[in-house]
């Protein structure tokens, strides 16, 4: 099992240390992605998803960001212990990233062809001209005419820009693609197109992917594995089937209840009450306890650890309620 892992994050802790506060963005998470698998990392804004993604490339902005603890193994090598030369070789070549906002992710004073060609030139030791030719092929692959390689980002629409960003990311056929909310900034109609394109390319190039999103619909469509993140911790993880059909964590349930269900139209939407706690001032116990409808006194005493669900090898949940074997979520289908 372990040797099949493309990415294995162990006990990652990242803080942002500013003058005013010490923000606990990521608080000891463990996630792993197998070869050719796609993991969806789900959570609200501010849950620490993007920080996790940047940590994999060792690109957490420092200062103020500090990776306090943990190991991030990429094909067995710890990213956090790499020299800067090794990091440069890894970035873009082994791991590539698609950013949330294509409007700002592209350099405004460089042609898109140059921007795609740049990483090819770096990692495949090609001349600028050869790289540019390859960049044209990449453009074609993401569905943009080759002739547009000479254009600048301001001449493209949002969806087209995101295609360019995808082309940059896939230019060197990385083993792992990190996509940070790749469709959030796009129109709904474009979202589906871009998602479809990514899905197709990933299958074609046999890549693994870490898909960061707050959109459960996107996860259902693309991901095989799911990890749910809350206030810098993983609260539940498992296969898509585990999490979608056999959910265990109250937060996961809350996320699903707040989604409109097309099959049961009459059903009422139930938003999760309250707000995520301030990451510079987390409660001592379970961070979700203040908002949790099942919370007991026990919950605010100790941080619950991820435990296997009913002896499952894939499905884990971090919730103290399961210390009582009879506990079931109200809406849990297989629990009734």
């Amino acid at each position: 099992m372990a040797e099949d892992l493309v990415l294995d994050i162990k006990n990652l802790v990242v803080h942002y240390e500013t003058e005013d506060a010490d923000v606990h963005a990521v608080n000891g998470i463990d996630i792993s992605i197998g070869k050719k698998r796609t993991l969806g990392l789900v959570g609200e804004t501010g849950a620490g998803k993007t920080t996790t993604a940047l940590s994999i490339l060792n690109l957490v902005p420092n200062p103020p960001g500090v990776i306090k603890e943990g190991e991030i193994f990429l094909e067995g090598k710890d990213v956090l212990k790499m020299s800067s030369a090794d990091l440069e070789k890894m970035r873009g070549n082994d791991v590539a990233m698609i950013f949330q906002d294509p409007m700002t992710a592209l350099n405004p004073v460089m042609t898109v062809g140059d921007q795609i060609g740049e990483s090819i030139a770096i990692h495949q030791n090609l001349s600028k001209k050869e790289a540019f030719e390859k960049a044209k092929e990449m453009l074609k692959m993401v569905g943009i005419a080759e002739s547009r390689a000479y254009d600048y980002p301001h001449q493209f629409s949002g969806g087209m820009k995101q295609r360019v960003v995808i082309a940059i990311a896939l230019a060197c056929s990385p083993q792992l693609l990190i996509a940070d909310e790749p469709t959030t900034a796009l129109d709904v109609t474009i979202q589906a197109q871009v998602l479809e394109l990514m899905k197709m390319l990933i299958q074609e190039q046999e890549m693994s992917m870490l898909l960061i999103t707050h959109d459960l619909g996107v996860v259902a469509e693309v991901c095989e594995d799911v990890a749910v993140m809350y206030a810098g911790r993983i609260v539940e993880k498992g296969t898509a089937d585990d999490v979608f059909n056999h959910m265990r964590h109250p937060y996961t349930e809350g996320l699903f209840d707040s989604l409109p269900n097309l099959k049961q139209r009459g059903e009422e939407l139930v938003p999760i009450k309250g707000l995520m706690p301030d990451p510079s001032d987390l409660p001592p116990g379970c961070a979700f306890a203040p908002r949790c409808p099942y919370a007991t006194e026990e919950c605010s005493k100790a941080v619950p650890q991820l435990m296997p669900v009913d002896g499952s090898e894939t499905h884990f949940v971090a919730c103290s309620a399961y210390n009582h074997p009879e506990f079931r979520l109200r809406g849990n289908k297989d629990g009734k």
Partner: protein, 311 residues
């Protein structure tokens, strides 16, 4: 692009007309009676009247302006009251000296300040940053003619390394160029730093790093090219500072440029010389501004596109 340049050049014409009109008008109001100046102290009234007639000074103002502009087209801007020399020729003789001084000053400023600005931006909030910023602060706060005086006291009078003034070999250019360049360097350092800090925060810098660019490539290829746009604007905006600085430095160092020429002409009330020089200076500045705008377009495709669209 070429159409844009042509358009800008054509647009220079009204600018020159209005500028020269205003200057000509202002100077004719204040310049005293040229006939009196030319005739000398012992002239009889008839002689003065003769000169007035000869110079066309009895014509209405607008006719005199028309004649002046007609003359300007052929390089005839009248002659100096004091030296009796041709204004246009004198100006053109002096111009290379000022361009040399200004060029050397800009060169010194750019070579020092852009690397320094980048360096301080990268090491933001460290002592290196603070040291660079203190340098820039002092450079910004010093009147450059005073810096020139201090340089003379230290390097000429005390150490005897450079001449106190005049134009000789390359060594005579050093102190004046440093005098003009220092303030400019301080300004460009600050602009480069803040522009670079701004760029460093941009998402595309993260994209570049995530691609595997080395930190050096990220800074020079992605950072500097974006940061250069405000830097060029700043340099362009400061071109008149260079000229102003040159006027002062030329006065302090007796450098035979146009600044010195204007200063001498003002103190001797040599109206044709002042009028001509200031008009020529404004034309020179228009051309410099145009060049700056074109450089600007060269670095920013968005602006280039705008220029092309406008034709």
């Amino acid at each position: 692009m070429i159409r844009y340049i042509l358009k800008r050049l054509i647009m220079l014409i009204p600018v020159i007309l209005v500028t020269s009109f205003l200057i000509f008008w202002a100077m004719s109001l204040t310049g005293g009676d040229p006939a009196l100046m030319l005739a000398g102290d012992n002239a009889k009234p008839e002689q003065i009247e003769e000169i007035r007639e000869e110079l066309g000074l009895n014509d209405p103002f607008i006719v005199r302006y028309g004649n002046y502009m007609k003359g300007m087209l052929t390089g005839d801007m009248g002659q100096s009251y004091v030296t009796k020399r041709d204004v246009f020729k004198t100006f053109m003789e002096r111009l290379p000296n000022t361009l040399m001084l200004g060029g050397a000053a800009v060169f010194i400023a750019v070579v020092v300040s852009i690397p320094l600005g980048i360096y301080t931006a990268i090491h933001q909030n460290t002592w290196k940053d603070t040291a660079g910023m203190i340098f820039a602060l002092f450079g910004n706060s010093m009147p450059n003619f005073w810096l020139g005086l201090m340089l003379i006291i230290i390097f000429s009078l005390k150490l005897g390394l450079f001449p106190t003034g005049g134009k000789g070999g390359l060594d005579s250019l050093v102190l004046p160029a440093v005098t003009v360049g220092f303030g400019l360097a301080a300004l460009i350092t600050r602009t480069t730093r803040s522009s670079m800090l701004d760029v460093l925060r941009q998402d595309y810098m993260t994209t570049a790093r995530a691609k595997g660019c080395s930190e050096k490539q990220v800074i020079t290829v992605h950072g500097l090219k974006n940061a250069l746009i405000p830097i060029i604007t700043a340099i362009g905006l400061q071109m008149s500072l260079v000229i102003t600085g040159s006027v002062l430095a030329e006065t302090v160092f007796s450098w035979p440029g146009i600044g010195r020429l204007v200063y001498d002409s003002i103190s001797k009330r040599d109206t044709p010389m002042v009028t001509g020089s200031i008009i020529m200076c404004s034309i020179l500045m228009c051309i410099i501004n145009l060049v700056v705008d074109l450089i600007y377009a060269f670095f920013d495709p968005r602006i280039k596109a705008q220029y092309s669209k406008k034709g």
